[in-house]
């Protein structure tokens, strides 16, 4: 008989039916209370919002926080407000609410694409947009669209609030500029100037999977020339990144398929992808150009042909 050497996968070894971590639990009922707790326990605490990332990591013992601050009761952080020139989204707003929002669909097609591409129905009923950002995965679906839409984030602490452009928010995988005592409170997205189109394209193995690579673009064409083209790439560097050089190269050029194809070649010089379980650096570099090209054309097409169904 052949000896079969069955090694349990790491997943089976560590993924237990329980959370094998004991922690002190807090469920603040107001933002002040939450900030007070963060101020006290910040560096040893984890903030629990939707739980679709944190609880998985706790089950696998990737993180073992001493304190868990569950902010789900802070209903005041869940809203989508249209305030004329900009839209304000509470950090605890669930993806399902973004999906159902006419405001998001109307003004921010790239973000709407990302919402449709993220997880399944159940995950979207649980996960929050703030959690997606604070988790700071290079593959975070909300990041590239928010980057091309020039979103700003409001970080709150006991000392007060500060505003950070999303392009300066990420510092590395799982790392952001947030201090341990800070909480992401709000995402502000300015409405793009009329005539701007945007799109998000994600390449993943299945609809449920994380991105191998993703790209968001926002583009405005005036008299046949590119007034501005904003490009952001996900899963291709330690953080989601803007492709500043490519954007600069496209500026002022005529919006034609040839010009775009020629200029998006620059994209691969602005990313630093790696080989991992989902894809290879080579594949990511090659595909980055293709999806940026597609996203730029789709963005513009949405202005020409109209976007709302």
């Amino acid at each position: 008989m052949t000896q079969v050497n069955i090694r349990p996968s790491r997943h089976n070894l560590y993924n237990t039916h329980i959370i094998p971590v004991r922690f002190e639990y807090f469920a603040p009922s107001s933002l002040e209370e939450a900030l007070e707790l963060l101020n006290k326990y910040g560096s040893e605490a984890k903030v629990l919002a939707g739980g679709t990332d944190l609880l998985v990591k706790m089950k696998m013992r990737v993180v073992e926080p001493k304190y868990v601050i569950n902010i789900k009761k802070l209903k005041e952080l869940s809203y989508i407000r249209d305030e004329g020139g900009e839209v304000r989204i509470g950090a605890l707003t669930k993806w399902r609410e973004l999906e159902r929002s006419d405001v998001i669909m109307k003004y921010f097609p790239a973000l709407y694409d990302a919402v449709k591409a993220m997880g399944g129905t159940q995950i979207r009923n649980m996960a929050t947009i703030g959690g997606n950002l604070c988790n700071a995965s290079p593959a975070a679906d909300s990041a590239p669209p928010l980057m091309v839409l020039e979103a700003r984030l409001i970080l709150a602490s006991r000392e007060g609030e500060r505003e950070v452009p999303i392009t300066q928010f990420f510092k590395g995988p799982g790392k952001t500029v947030m201090r341990p005592d800070e909480l992401l409170k709000e995402i502000i997205i300015p409405k793009p100037e009329p005539g701007t189109g945007s799109a998000f394209i994600k390449v993943a193995r299945t609809a449920m999977d994380l991105a191998k690579i993703s790209a968001a673009t926002a583009v405005k064409v005036e008299d046949g020339r590119i007034k501005f083209a904003r490009i952001a790439i996900g899963s291709a560097a330690p953080t989601p990144v803007r492709a500043w050089k490519t954007e600069e190269a496209l500026k002022g050029k005529p919006f034609t398929p040839e010009v775009i194809r020629e200029n998006v070649k620059l994209v691969e010089t602005e990313i630093s992808p790696i080989d991992d379980v989902r894809s290879t650096a080579f594949y990511r570099r090659e595909v980055s150009k293709v999806i940026v090209e597609d996203a730029l054309i789709l963005s513009h097409e949405r202005v020409v042909k109209g976007w709302m169904k």
Binding site: N15, F23, L55, N70, I123
Partner: protein, 167 residues
């Protein structure tokens, strides 16, 4: 440190005490004996532990038990009226959308909810709605057929939307 919680489970008010690190799935299965929701992947990829929380499908293996305090939880057991099967359950049987049955409670909850939101879905809409549920036996064809069949009954008017299930 035990935390007292009170919530509505399949239409009944229940009260219990839970540890902060206790998962809703384990509470439902072990303390209340509702074994409809299943533990499979444990990381939010398979949908077998799906329950309704205030009427919205969520994953009970990634929900802390303390979080349902004051809310309403419905498992697959809470969908049927008395001992009668629901529209979706009948359709799954008729279309042979069940083999080992492990994923079935998740699919029943999802298709049930889909039809209440959208009683006239296209095949694409069905597949998109249940993309968070994995089945390793039937390959989805019969499950989607069952959802189409249930939707057909709604279109024909043999079953009204309000009669899809109890919840």
């Amino acid at each position: 440190m035990k935390i007292p919680i009170e919530f509505t489970l399949n239409g009944q008010k229940v009260r219990t005490e839970v540890e902060p690190n206790e998962l809703l799935l384990n509470l439902l299965r072990e303390k209340f004996g509702y074994t409809g929701p299943k533990y499979v992947c444990g990381i939010g990829e398979c949908g077998a532990c799906t329950v309704l929380l205030d009427g919205e499908p969520v994953l009970s293996c990634l929900t802390l038990a303390v979080d349902v305090d004051g809310h309403e939880v419905t498992t697959v057991e809470g969908l049927a009226k008395s001992r009668e099967l629901t529209l979706v359950q009948k359709a799954l049987i008729e279309e042979a959308g069940v083999q080992c049955g492990y994923c079935t409670p998740g699919f029943v909850i999802m298709i049930d909810k889909l039809l209440k939101e959208n009683p006239n879905p296209t095949e694409e809409e069905i597949r998109d709605y249940i993309r968070g549920n994995l089945c390793r036996c039937t390959g989805y064809v019969n499950i989607v057929k069952a959802a189409m069949k249930a939707a057909e009954e709604l279109r024909k008017g043999t079953t009204k939307v309000a009669e899809i299930s109890k919840e």
